[in-house]
C-alpha cells in the first residue's frame, strides 16, 4: 500500500483515478441511500445496463460516449419510472426486457462502429485509470447537480420514498418527484460507470448504503456514512489493484462486497448477543 501512495504522488493518472473515485462516492452515497430504502435496486440495475445502448449509438455517430451514456440513462430512467408507475404488476418483466434490449442495441452499434475496435470491456467493467481530465470535471458537475437537487427537495424525496399515497394526498406531485429521483439515480449511474463500469455499478450503488442502513436510522446520516464508505472502498480498491496489478473496478467491488459481508456478520452476532442477554435477564 505504501507503494501506492508513493506512486500517487508521482503519477497524474493515479491522482485523477483517485479523484474520480472520490467524486463518484459522493453521488453513490446520496442516491444509493434512496435506492436502498425505497428498494429500487432492480430499477437502478435496469437503468445502468440500458446505458450501453446510448454509449454504442454515441460511438457509432462519433459523439462523446459519456454524453451518450447520460442521455441514455435519463431516457431509461423516465421509461422505467413510467413502467413502474403504470404497469406495476408487470414491472419485473418489462424492466428486464429494457435491461437486455439496451445492452443488445449497444453491442450492435459498437460492432458496426468503423475505425479501430473500441474497448468494450472498459464500458462494462470500468477503466478509472484512463479517465480523461474533462470527464473529471463532468463528474464534479454531475455531483453538484445531484447534491443541489437533493438539498432542495429533501423532504419531497423523503415523502415519496416513505409513503407515496400519503404524499399524493398532501398535494405533493408524486409522479414528478419519483421521476426526478430516478433521473438523479441515472446521473449517479453514469458517474459510477466511469469507475466500475456499467455491470458493476449496482454493487457500488447499494453496498455502502446497505452497510450504513445497518447502523444508522436517518436518511441524511445514511447518505453521509455511505459516501464516506464509498470513498474508503474506492481508495482501498484502487490501492490494492495498483499494488497487485489487478483490474481496478473489480477490485473496488470486491472490497465493498467483503465489507458488506463482514458488517452483516458482525451485526448478526451483535444482535444475537443482545438477544441472549435479554433472555438471560
Amino acid at each position: 500500500m505504501t507503494g501506492f501512495f508513493e506512486a500517487l504522488l508521482q503519477y497524474g493518472f493515479l491522482q485523477k483515478a483517485l479523484v474520480g473515485g472520490l467524486l463518484a462516492s459522493i453521488g453513490c452515497g446520496i442516491m444509493g441511500s434512496y435506492v436502498v430504502v425505497k428498494r429500487i435496486g432492480f430499477l437502478a440495475g435496469g437503468i445502468s445496463h440500458a446505458v450501453l445502448g446510448g454509449m454504442g449509438i454515441a460511438l457509432f455517430y462519433g459523439l462523446s460516449p459519456l454524453g451518450g451514456a447520460l442521455g441514455a440513462a435519463l431516457v431509461a430512467a423516465l421509461l422505467i419510472g413510467w413502467i413502474s408507475l403504470r404497469w406495476k404488476e408487470r414491472e419485473d418483466t418489462l424492466i428486464g426486457a429494457l435491461w437486455a434490449v439496451g445492452m443488445a442495441i449497444g453491442i450492435i452499434f459498437i460492432s458496426k462502429t468503423p475505425g479501430y475496435n473500441v474497448n468494450l470491456m472498459s464500458y462494462l467493467f470500468g477503466n478509472i485509470l484512463m479517465v480523461p481530465q474533462k470527464d473529471i470535471w463532468l463528474m464534479a458537475l454531475m455531483d453538484a447537480v445531484v447534491l443541489i437537487t437533493v438539498m432542495l427537495f429533501y423532504h419531497q424525496f423523503l415523502a415519496v420514498s416513505f409513503d407515496e399515497e400519503f404524499a399524493r394526498l398532501r398535494g405533493v406531485p408524486v409522479t414528478l418527484f419519483y421521476l426526478l429521483l430516478l433521473c438523479m439515480v441515472a446521473v449517479t449511474v453514469v458517474l459510477l460507470i466511469q469507475v466500475v463500469g456499467l455491470i458493476l455499478v449496482i454493487a457500488l450503488l447499494t453496498l455502502p448504503a446497505a452497510i450504513a442502513a445497518q447502523y444508522l436510522h436517518s436518511l441524511g446520516r445514511m447518505m453521509l456514512m455511505a459516501s464516506i464508505l464509498g470513498m474508503l472502498f474506492t481508495t482501498l480498491g484502487l490501492g490494492i489493484a495498483y499494488s497487485a496489478d489487478l483490474p481496478a473496478g473489480a477490485t473496488i467491488i470486491l472490497v465493498a462486497g467483503a465489507a458488506y459481508l463482514l458488517s452483516t456478520m458482525t451485526n448478526q452476532i451483535f444482535r444475537r448477543q443482545q438477544h441472549s442477554l435479554k433472555v438471560s435477564q
Binding site: V37, R39, M151, L152, F153, Y154, H155, Q156, L158, A159, S161, F162, D163, E164, E165, F166, A167, R168, L169, R170, G171, V172, A213, L216, H217, S218, L219, M222
Partner: protein
C-alpha cells in the same frame, strides 16, 4: 361494480361510522372521498368542491401503513410529513410547522416518542403516530380506515376516546367492522354492502345487523344516556 347507487351526506361536525362486511366497499368509499379514485358515474363533493382540490384539508389514517416498517425515520420526521403541502415547496420546514407537529404529538400522546425509530413502535403506538400525522395536516375532516384493527381492546378505547375529543373541532369519518363497539361513539352509522343504508346509532338492533351481514351476529343491547 363495488358501490351501486349510493347517496350519503355528512354534516359538518358529525362523527360518522362506516360499517359493513369485507369487500363491501368501505375502503372504496373512502378513496372516492379522498380523491384517490374517481367514480364511474355520479359525483362526490367534499367541502363543496372536487375531492382532489381539498385533499389538503382532509387528514387520512390508512388501515395498513403504506410504508415499510423498517424505513429509517423517526416519529417526529414521520409526523412532519403531515405538513407537506402546507409548508414551503422547497427546502426545510418552518418553525410554525414544528409547532403544529409538536401539538399533534402532545394530543395523541406520542410526544415522548418523538426521537424513536418508527420500527421500534408497538402497533398501538404506530396507530397514534398515524393519527398525529393526520392531525399535523390541520384537517377539517379526519378520515380513518379501520384504525384499530391490529391493536388490543384497551388501546382501541383510548383511540376512540381521543377521536371523541377531536370531534369537537372536526368532522370525523371512521370505517370499522365492529358496529357494536363504535355505536358508543359515533352519531350515525352508514352500513355499506354495495348499497348503503344509514342509521342513527340508537336504532341499531339485531335485525339491522342481520340484514347487513346476512347472518346472526352477537350483539349487546345498550342504551345511550
Amino acid at each position: 361494480m363495488i358501490l351501486d347507487r349510493i347517496s350519503l351526506e355528512v354534516e359538518e361536525g358529525e362523527f360518522l361510522g362506516v360499517v359493513g362486511p369485507n369487500a363491501g366497499g368501505k375502503s372504496t368509499l373512502l378513496k372516492l372521498v379522498l380523491g384517490l379514485l374517481v367514480p364511474l358515474s355520479g359525483s362526490v363533493q367534499v367541502l363543496g368542491r372536487e375531492p382532489g382540490a381539498v385533499s389538503r384539508q382532509v387528514g387520512y389514517v390508512p388501515q395498513y401503513p403504506s410504508f415499510s416498517r423498517d424505513f429509517p425515520i423517526t416519529v417526529q420526521a414521520a409526523v412532519l410529513m403531515g405538513r407537506l403541502g402546507n409548508s414551503n415547496w422547497y427546502g426545510g420546514y418552518r418553525k410554525q410547522d414544528h409547532e403544529v407537529v409538536q401539538q399533534a404529538m402532545l394530543e395523541t400522546e406520542v410526544a415522548d416518542l418523538a426521537q424513536r425509530q418508527l420500527s421500534t413502535l408497538s402497533g398501538g403506538q404506530l396507530q397514534r403516530v398515524l393519527v398525529a400525522r393526520a392531525l399535523a395536516c390541520e384537517p377539517r375532516i379526519l378520515i380513518l380506515d379501520e384504525p384499530t384493527s391490529n391493536i388490543d381492546m384497551r388501546v382501541e378505547t383510548d383511540i376512540f376516546d381521543l377521536l371523541k375529543i377531536l370531534n369537537q373541532r372536526m368532522t370525523i369519518i371512521v370505517v370499522s367492522h365492529d358496529v357494536g363497539f363504535i355505536s358508543r361513539y359515533v352519531d350515525r352509522v352508514a352500513c355499506l354492502n354495495r348499497t348503503l343504508i344509514c342509521h342513527h346509532t340508537s336504532s341499531i338492533d339485531g335485525k339491522v345487523i342481520n340484514e347487513l351481514y346476512g347472518s346472526d351476529v352477537h350483539m349487546v343491547e345498550h342504551v345511550h344516556s
